[in-house]
Assembly symmetry: C2
Homo-oligomer: 384 residues x 2
DNA sequence: GATGATACGTTGCCAATGTCAACAAATCAT
DNA sequence: ATGATTTGTTGACATTGGCAACGTATCATC
């Protein structure tokens, strides 16, 4: 319940323009005029200000074969960057992503053992020091961290990252203290849905669900009514613990019959006779498609049917436009898209939900880095 | 992606003030100054405009025992009203609700048979004609309809209201044509959550879930990140079709093992030996509390445990602050709150979600009328 | 009951912003 | 070259909220 004043108008308009060129790519001033509904002169002034601040660049227009004065192209700068960090079990990945969407760098630093939070901070700080030299001419606006675990929304405290063994680690504070950059963190899957929504399969949509199948469980994120839903404390999206069967298998939290207990990458690898280390999501999908062993097929069907129960539950509650599947869930889906689609349809209120689509994630290995960078950019986009 | 101009600022500020006094009750100008962050002079001008338009009234301040010039109390007008309509199986209820929150009238028109859409329109139009005479001095700003079924968001088409037997009825159009008022409609449960959120158990919260148990099924609504979630097409909130068991009982949509199949008012009445017609939610709760028959207790426990599965699934996905239970679900909860709370906790990621609360609905019989009126007020609140 | 302290509404001036209309510039078609 | 079309630029303008000074209404104290 806040009032608006003049500065807010300016800020909102600058924000709107910067968001447009950041999310939807370069646009001519004339296009911006149409999209925002603002006056030509206003657009001129606002773009001028953004250029002055180095956030956007104006390029000479490309010939359009149309009559009329050509309109300069406004593009988000390549030289305004965020640093994205993704700590994992066996590596820490650090990326440099520009406001333009370009991924300048992606560095994977393998760790011999699962890093502690302190080690992750030290490693990240080292890489950032190098990157700072390399990108001296650039403007580094902040750092975003994608954490595989529960992250408290308001301060970025890592409440519990089971696979890293982190509990109540003030990761943001630590990284901010070492690097001097503003640092924000969020759950990796919720960043995944942000990335897919703005730059991937869910472009421009206001209601979508993202489920990611990782080696250690299933997480997800959701966008509801155009807002990335974090829930009360930022823990929303734990699809993995939805009950889908009356079985006795338990998940990482000790709950029986959940999606995460029944639908696992490990079980797929086991029936294929593969080892975890050798197989990424693409290789898994290829292997699943190549195999015609009945046991493999049976396991795939079993998992798809359980996945359908969880998805149907979410669809009935959220009525999304799109369900995006990432990680091994995309592989699972790829083996028999029809089966999953039909199973979900059978468990939802048919006609009403027939517009729901299911699609594999589009952004591959850069997904989390893009999502984390987006998180870091958010402050800038809100108030350029 | 819209730009802001001067008019938008004014509109936003007027809207903010009107929303404040509508939702949070009367407030002094000084309080408004603090809440909005706007200047005293600005508040003066804005309140003056709202008074001129008849939307708010200024009262002489009550003695506060504080030093300083007393600040006039600004209150939403009693004389600006919306008409709320709720068609049901055996009656049509029409209410007159003021912007101040006062429920001026509530008329229940019993119908001998379940009304068709055309009959509902005729009956409503008749009542409205009378009300118009009665409230001649008032300003009727529009009509909101709470429909027990799926309502398409963008045009208020009633896609399917199973218990009324309505399919693809252009209810809004019909009512607007007959009454000449702007008419908006939405699912009853999603209006329930709006009402509880602004005026009931979920006051001021940004993330909550509402589940209503009716004689014919379980519906619900959700607020995610401060936004009433309608989903892609407005069908969000169908909690009743979440799978909670491997059983064979089916729900109204023919899906087996769902919440709506396992948790029913009918089963509770059956073990109590009561008839549907005689028993409202309060009477049901009293009967359940009074009975100590093992069969009753067993049925209550069974239903509570299934309800917990559905709630836990929603909690893991949405991480809400509060779950509001209405209708017979409130009665069920009232019998053994602890059992439900414990069961939900056991099925969610314990520590992370321990802030979730469960509460019965506060707004009784007026719930839907208040929600429907709120829907009608929304246009006015957005642009006073 | 006069005085001061406190809190708040009112008034006139000011800065900032977006709009508008007129004009200039850059392209295409003839 | 000329006109049509589209768009950027410029300066005048209206509107808005902020601000500071002033007026007003209450309480506390003597």
């Amino acid at each position: 319940m806040q009032g608006n004043n003049h500065d807010d108008v300016r800020r909102h308009n600058l924000s709107t323009i910067l968001r447009l060129v950041h999310r939807q790519g370069a646009a001519s001033r004339a296009q911006l005029t149409r999209l925002t509904g603002l006056n030509r002169s206003t657009i001129g002034a606002l773009v001028g200000e953004l250029v002055e601040r180095g956030l956007v660049e104006e390029r000479t227009p490309t010939p359009t074969k149309l009559a009329g004065r050509p309109s300069p192209i406004v593009a988000a700068s390549d030289r305004v960057v965020a640093i994205a960090v993704n700590p994992e079990i066996d590596a820490i990945t650090v990326g440099v992503i520009a406001l333009s969407g370009v991924v300048h760098r992606s560095i994977r630093f393998a760790t011999p053992t699962t890093p502690t939070a302190a080690e992750a901070v030290t490693i990240t700080a080292g890489i950032v020091t190098d990157l700072r030299r390399e990108y001296e001419e650039y403007s580094i606006i902040g750092m975003g961290v994608a954490v595989p675990g529960l992250v408290r929304a308001h301060d970025g405290l890592v409440r519990n990252a089971p696979h890293l063994g982190w509990v109540d680690e003030p990761l943001c504070e630590m990284l901010a203290a070492v690097t001097g950059l503003p640092v924000v963190a969020a759950n990796d899957a919720s960043l995944g849905v942000t990335a897919e929504r703005h730059f991937g399969a869910g472009r421009g949509m206001t209601d979508l669900i993202y489920l990611n199948g990782g080696s250690s469980g299933i997480g997800g994120g959701l966008v509801v009514g155009g807002v990335a839903a974090g829930g009360r404390t930022g823990y929303a999206g734990e699809f993995g613990h939805t009950r889908v069967s009356a079985g006795r298998r338990t998940d990482s939290a000790g709950i029986a019959g959940t999606l995460e207990a029944e639908v696992t990458r490990g079980a797929l690898l086991a029936v294929l006779g593969l080892r975890a280390g050798d197989t990424d999501a693409d290789a898994l999908e290829r292997a699943l498609l190549a195999s015609d062993a009945p046991a493999v097929r049976a396991e795939v069907d079993r998992q798809l049917d359980f996945l359908a129960v969880a998805l149907a539950g979410a669809v009935n509650i959220l009525n999304p436009e799109l369900i995006v599947l990432g990680g091994f869930l995309a592989a699972l889906y790829g083996v028999d898209p029809g089966r999953l689609t039909r199973a979900v349809a059978a468990l939802t209120l048919g006609a009403a939900f027939d517009e729901v689509r299911i699609a594999p994630a589009l952004l591959g290995s850069n997904l989390l880095l893009i999502g984390a960078a987006e998180l870091a950019f958010e402050a800038l986009l809100l108030d350029p």
